[in-house]
C-alpha cells in the first residue's frame, strides 16, 4: 500500500515539475527571443527564423542602440536618454520616498482631526488615471517654468508617487510600537529627531519595498514622459518608442530588441538584487516577530 502511494506521490511530483518548468520556459520565451535576435545581423531575422539562435553572432545592434541609432534629430543612440532616465528616477524616487515616510509618520503618530479622511484622499490619488491630470499638470509645469525639462518630470513623478509611498509607510508605521515614539519624545527628541533617529532606522524593509516600487514605476513610465518632455529631456521609454516607431529607413529589428533590453536592464537588476527583500518587506507589517 505504502509503496503504491509513494509511487503516486513521485509521479505527481514529476508531473508538477514538468508543468512548472514548461511554464517557466514559456515566461522566459520573450526574453529569449529578445536576446537571441539582438545578437543577429538583420538578414537572419528577415529570414523569419525568430526562434533560432544567431548563426553569425554580432554585438553591432547593441552598439548601435546604445550610441549611434537615430532617435532625435541627431544619431545619439539611447545613451543620453538612459542618462535622462537616471536623472529623473533617482531624485523622483528619493523625493517620493521621503515624503511617503514623512506622511506615514504624521498620519500615524499624530492623532489629529481628519487624519483618516486625509489618508483616504491621498489613497484616492493612487486610483486617478494618468490621463485625467495631463492638462492641469501641463498648465502647472508651464506656470512653474518646468515644461519640457527633466526637473518637470521629477516633479510630476514625485507628486504622483506620493500616494503610493504614503500608503506603504502609513501601514508600516501604524504597526510601529507606540511606546518607542513616546519614549523618544520623553527623551527629548523632537519632530524630525523622532523620524530620523527612531522611525527611519527601523524602516529598511518598507524603504526597500518603496524604492523598488517607485524605481520600477518611474523607470517604465511613458505617458508623462511623452507628454511633458522635449528632445533634450526624453526619458528612455520615450526614446525607445521613437527608436522603434521611426518611419524612415529600414526597420532594424535587431537594434530594437537590443534597445528594449537596455531599457529593461536597470529594473531587472533591481529585482534580482532585492527581490527577496521586496517579498519580505511586503509581509513585514502583517507578521510581528
Amino acid at each position: 500500500m505504502a509503496d503504491t502511494r509513494d509511487k503516486g506521490l513521485v509521479a505527481g511530483r514529476i508531473f508538477l515539475y514538468l508543468v512548472l518548468i514548461f511554464l517557466a520556459l514559456l515566461f522566459l520565451l520573450p526574453m529569449y527571443v529578445m536576446l537571441a535576435n539582438s545578437f543577429k545581423p538583420l538578414e537572419e531575422i528577415r529570414n523569419g527564423q525568430l526562434m533560432a539562435l544567431p548563426i553569425d553572432w554580432t554585438t553591432a545592434p547593441w552598439r548601435s542602440a546604445w550610441s549611434t541609432a537615430q532617435i532625435g534629430v541627431q544619431a545619439t543612440g539611447l545613451r543620453p536618454y538612459f542618462i535622462n532616465s537616471f536623472l529623473l528616477v533617482i531624485p523622483a524616487v528619493a523625493i517620493s520616498t521621503m515624503f511617503g515616510a514623512l506622511n506615514g509618520y504624521i498620519l500615524t503618530q499624530f492623532q489629529f482631526r481628519g487624519a483618516n479622511l486625509l489618508f483616504a484622499l491621498m489613497l484616492f490619488s493612487v486610483f486617478i488615471p494618468f490621463q485625467i491630470v495631463l492638462i492641469p499638470m501641463a498648465k502647472t509645469l508651464g506656470t512653474l517654468g518646468l515644461a519640457g525639462t527633466v526637473k518637470g518630470l521629477v516633479l510630476v513623478n514625485s507628486v504622483y508617487g506620493i500616494g503610493f509611498t504614503t500608503l506603504f509607510f502609513r501601514n508600516y508605521y501604524a504597526a510601529f510600537p507606540v511606546e518607542l515614539i513616546r519614549s523618544a519624545r520623553m527623551d527629548g527628541a523632537r519632530f524630525f529627531a523622532v523620524l530620523f533617529r527612531i522611525l527611519l532606522p527601523s524602516s529598511s524593509p518598507i524603504i526597500i519595498v518603496t524604492v523598488i516600487w517607485q524605481f520600477t514605476n518611474i523607470w517604465n513610465e511613458f505617458l508623462f514622459g511623452a507628454s511633458f518632455s522635449d528632445f533634450s529631456s526624453f526619458p528612455l521609454t520615450v526614446a525607445l518608442n521613437n527608436l522603434v516607431s521611426s518611419s524612415t529607413g529600414v526597420k532594424e529589428y535587431n537594434v530594437h530588441f537590443a534597445g528594449a533590453f537596455i531599457a529593461a536592464i536597470p529594473t531587472l537588476i533591481v529585482y534580482v538584487a532585492s527581490g527577496k527583500y521586496f517579498v519580505r518587506g511586503l509581509m513585514a507589517g502583517s507578521v510581528k516577530g
Binding site: 513616546r182 520623553m186 527623551d187 527629548g188 527628541a189 523632537r190 533617529r197
Partner: protein
Amino acid sequence: MATLALDGIKKSFGPVQILHDISIDLKDGEFLVLVGPSGCGKSTLMNIIAGLEEPSGGALHLNGRDITPLGPADRNIAMVFQSYALYPNMTVAKNIEFPLEMHRIDRSVRAERVAKVAKLLQIEHLLERKPRQLSGGQRQRVAIGRALAREPQLYLFDEPLSNLDAQLRLDMRTEIKKLHQRLKSTIVYVTHDQIEAMTLATRIAVMKGGVLQQLGTPYEVYNRPANTFVASFMGSPRMNLLQARVSGSGGALELSFTKGDRAHAGFVLPAAAAAPLQPYTGREVIAGIRAEAVSIARKGETLGANQRTLAARVEVIEPTGADTLVVLDVAGQEFTARLDPDVDLVPGAMMDFQIDLSKLVCFDSQTEILLS
C-alpha cells in the same frame, strides 16, 4: 529631585470623563504608587504627568514650575515603559546616551554618565549589545538606566515589572526600592498589583473609575481604607466585608452578623470600636475585618480588651505553606481567616474563633464610606 503638585486634573474624551478632579501633592523624594484595576485612569494620569496627553482641566507643577503647557521634552521627566521601549536600532550604550544627546549634553559628560549608570545597574558588559540580544530583566535594567542617565527631576514608571516572570519581578521590585532609597528621587509608579504598591510606595493613590479613592501611606490604605473598594482591593486575601447590624443596650453596642434564621453570631464592641458606630444604632453597617485578625480560640484563655470570640463553621482549608487560609461561614456570610500553617481543622466543624477588633473598620451600608 523635586516636588510634584497635581491640581484638579481632569480628562475627558468627548462626553466620557476619564479623570475626575485629581489633586495630589508630592514632597521631594516621595515614591507615589498609582494603583487600581484596569481602566481606572491611572495610566492616563501618568501620561498627563509625562506630557504625552493633555489634561482637559487642572494644572501640574514640578518643583513650583508650571509644566502644564510644556511638551514632554521640556518637562525634565524620565519614564520607564512597560515594554521597556528600547530603541532596537541602537546599542545599549547608545540607548542610554540618547536622551543626553537629545538634550545637547557634552560628549564627554555623556560618556561619563553612561559609564556611571552602567556600573550602578551592573550592565557594563552589555553596553555594546543590541536590545534584541538581551533578556527581559536586562532590558528592564537598560530602560531604568536610560531614565537615570538623564538625572531628571521626576521619574515615571509605567507597570515596569508586568512583563517579567514571577521570580525576576520580585528581584527587580527590591532593586527599584533600593535604587529609590539610594537616589532619594521623586517617583510616580503605576501598577495594578496591590502588593507592588504596598511594598514600594511611601504613599499610595488608589483609583477607580477615574476617581481618586484614597491617598495615603501603605499603612493607612491597608488599615484605614477610605471605602469598601479600597478595603477589598488592597491586601490578599481581601478584607472580609460582613453585613452587620448595630444594636444598643445601655451604652454598650453590639454587632451581630446573623442573617435569617441562623444561630446568633456577634459580639459586644469594645469602647474604641463602638464610638464611630453610635449614630448607627439600630441600623445596618458593613464590618471590615482582615484575615490575619482571626485566630483559633483556646479554652480558658482570657480575652484582651479588643478581643472577642465568634462562632463559625469551617468550609474550606487552603494551606499555602507560610500560613493556612481558611474559609469560614459566619452566620451565612463568607469569611476568610489567615491561620497558623499547622492548624488542625476539619471541614464542616463548628468552632469558636478569636477576633482582634483593634483594627476593625466599619462602612456605611449605603455609601460604603469608612465610618470614623
